[in-house]
């Protein structure tokens, strides 16, 4: 593991200026992705700027029809929040299915979405609920945030301060986890929102995506049968040692069906 300078930021401004002022500065949140990446020598930052002491980035609150989650909220906190469980139970459950207890005790929502691993869980909720990502500079619609494999709309030095999730009338997330890492081989988030049904798929492709055909079918009939015969093409899906593209395409339909059934309770 190459060495780097460790810095603890005291505020959002301090963190941003430390990262932008460094030769190759990176924010450090839970460290559950960046530390293993540096160990593997896949990243070699000059400076890590710890967000753990920055005020205003933690906390979870529900007001009216919105769940606000701070960028540094740990997966375990979202999972254990009775407010989240009451407003969007699918979101609390999703957080409780990430990795393992120790990963959930450290990992954060800001780190997860900034990293945009193709097999990460949170991107499915951000897109599936039509959430808004807040940064130190602006608000970014969930649909525009994830731009490609490990790519997001974030600019250099832009910091995720929180995510606001509109409360759906119902929602569920179903994942087929990799049995070793628990990352999603395929995960499907479905929601009945004020703007109509949304279906977001993670794990299957290079980046989270929506399935318009399923959304249209669910608009007519929000029932598992509505999506049971909708197959997605496997041309742009991932193939690796864990699953072929063809199998992933199959799993999208199966997970979508199960998610709709669970959303209907």
């Amino acid at each position: 593991m190459y060495d780097f300078n460790y810095r603890k930021a005291s505020s959002v401004e301090d963190a941003v200026s430390a990262v932008t002022g460094a030769e190759d500065g990176r924010f450090l949140a839970g460290g559950m992705t960046i530390i293993p990446t540096i160990k593997q020598r896949l990243a070699n930052p000059s400076d890590l700027v710890d967000l753990a002491g920055v005020g205003g980035l933690t906390g979870i609150s529900v007001s009216g029809n919105t769940v606000e989650i701070g960028g540094m909220a740990r997966h375990a906190e979202v999972n254990a929040s009775s407010e989240v469980a009451a407003a969007i139970p699918a979101l609390a459950r999703l957080a409780g299915g990430i990795g393992d207890p120790q990963v959930r005790n450290r990992g954060t929502i800001g780190g997860s979405i900034a990293n945009n691993d193709p097999a990460a869980d949170y991107p499915a909720a951000v897109v599936g609920l039509g959430a808004t990502v807040r940064t130190n500079r602006r608000e970014i619609a969930g649909d525009d945030f994830f731009t490609g494999m490990f790519e997001t709309a974030l600019e250099p030095g832009e910091l995720v301060t929180g995510v606001s999730f509109p409360v759906p009338s119902k929602a569920a997330y179903m994942k087929f986890p990799n049995p070793a890492s628990r990352y999603a081989i395929v995960g499907v988030f479905v929601a009945a929102t004020s703007g109509g049904p949304r279906v977001a798929v993670t794990g299957a492709g290079p980046c989270v995506f929506r399935v318009a055909e399923m959304e249209q079918a669910l608009a007519g009939n929000f029932a598992p049968e509505a999506v049971a015969d909708i197959k997605i093409g496997d041309d742009d899906l991932n193939s690796d040692i864990h699953a072929s593209a063809e199998y992933r395409a199959h799993l999208v339909t199966v997970m979508a069906k199960r998610a709709v059934a669970q959303a209907n309770g």
């Binding site: 190459y2 780097f4 460290g31 293993p36 540096i38 710890d50 120790q102």
Partner: protein, 158 residues
């Protein structure tokens, strides 16, 4: 570049010089000679390195020593009271929950955190909550039994 990192480990105030990259597990094993905390995989998968930081279980191979500055850290060495084992250690002994023992420190630390977080536990929950800890020897069966046995003892309901 090195600088001093201070924290409380098993009730004692400690300080040591660290690089930015010094991991918490290196701090414990190499600076403090507390070698009960193990490194199994060094890739955040196996849980042999689990310790408690401010009462919460973490993988110490995936946390920088600097991140634990000022924290209260408890390792496997901090559990027993003299010759009296912690109820979780005692339950592991009673239930033959170890063979080679390599995974055991992390198992015990994760198990204690699990009991602290759950008013009730059943086999399914224990297995799910152990997802961050790998054992190459036991097949988990006796580990699950030990945790279920320690739960009422730790909660004072035995």
């Amino acid at each position: 570049m090195t600088s001093t990192v201070s924290m409380t480990v098993n009730g004692k105030q400690v300080s040591a010089e660290c690089e930015g990259r010094t991991l918490l597990v290196q701090y414990l094993r190499e600076k403090l000679a507390l070698t009960g905390t193990h490194v199994g995989c060094d890739t955040s998968q196996c849980g042999a390195c689990v310790v408690h930081v401010d009462g919460i279980s973490v993988k110490s191979c995936t946390m920088l020593a600097h991140q634990a500055e000022g924290c209260d850290v408890v390792t496997i060495e901090g559990l027993a009271d003299g010759d009296t084992l912690h109820p979780m250690q005692e339950a592991f002994r009673e239930n033959h929950a170890l063979q080679c023992g390599f995974c055991t420190p992390g198992m015990v630390m994760s198990a204690i955190d699990m009991v602290n977080r759950h008013d009730t536990l059943d086999e399914k929950t224990v297995r799910h909550q152990l997802e961050g800890n790998l054992c190459r020897c036991t097949g988990y069966h006796n580990i699950v039994k030990a945790i279920l046995a320690a739960h009422p003892v730790m909660k004072g309901t035995a």
